[in-house]
Amino acid sequence: MAKIERPLSPHLQIYKPQITMVTSITHRATGIALGVGTLLLAWWLIAVAAGPEAYATVTAFTTSWFGQIILFGFTWSLFYHLCNGIRHLFWDMGQGFELPTMRKSGMAAIIASIVLTLLTWIIAYAMGA
């Protein structure tokens, strides 16, 4: 079929960012990031099953500064996708579609994801220390 270059709407470059749009895009972005992150979870589980040497290798990565950044990003992505996913479940039940409610629930999802991420890492560091 002939390819027709149609104009795209909305033009993301000139579109004023709104909380509804930002939370939606972030939901997809974190979903994709989590998809890649499943490799890390699978690697960790396989390493535990494989033996102490393999486990030492995966631990060396997860405790390195690079691994810690990846894990932190993974934690936030997970909590964001979870919190915003709950928003989606309410929408599926036909609730929370009013714009003020949508903005509030969007802010709530963002704040909750940050709080839960920090809480997880504070507890994890307290446990590990």
Partner: protein, 126 residues
């Protein structure tokens, strides 16, 4: 009276009548993943800084094994469905789209089953 042009019938494009099932499965796995992830995160936190023997012991416990196994199944199915939608939304070149859809299915099956096998090995003490 049918309003479809003959060409439309020949091409056979249109709804595959599977959209609702896809959506529903996405939602069922989403709901399942909420408690599963909360338990798993609690488990991971408790294992921070633990030595190998302890990690192996904890993952071999029946409750943790079943939570991990359910998590892996629900997670990779949820991932497969979600990535499929993303690919279908943004990739409009037919060959690239089909290639990526296959890659998505294979990735989820291979990585998911590998992780599941690891859990079963730990659970059954192999």
């Amino acid at each position: 009276m049918g309003m479809r042009a003959p060409l439309k019938n020949v091409r056979g494009l249109g709804s595959a009548k599977e959209g609702t099932t896809h959506w529903w499965h996405q939602k069922v796995t989403a709901i399942a993943l909420i408690p599963l992830f909360l338990i798993a995160i609690g488990c991971f936190i408790s294992l921070v800084g633990a030595d190998y023997t302890h990690v192996r012991y904890v993952l071999g416990q029946p409750f943790i094994s079943i939570v991990m196994l359910l998590l892996i199944v629900a997670m990779f199915y949820h991932l497969k469905l979600g990535m499929q939608v993303v690919i279908e939304d943004y990739i409009h070149t037919e060959s690239t789209k089909v290639f990526l859809l296959l890659l998505n299915s294979f990735f989820c099956a291979i990585v998911g089953l590998s992780a599941a096998l690891a859990i079963l090995k730990l659970a059954l003490g192999g």
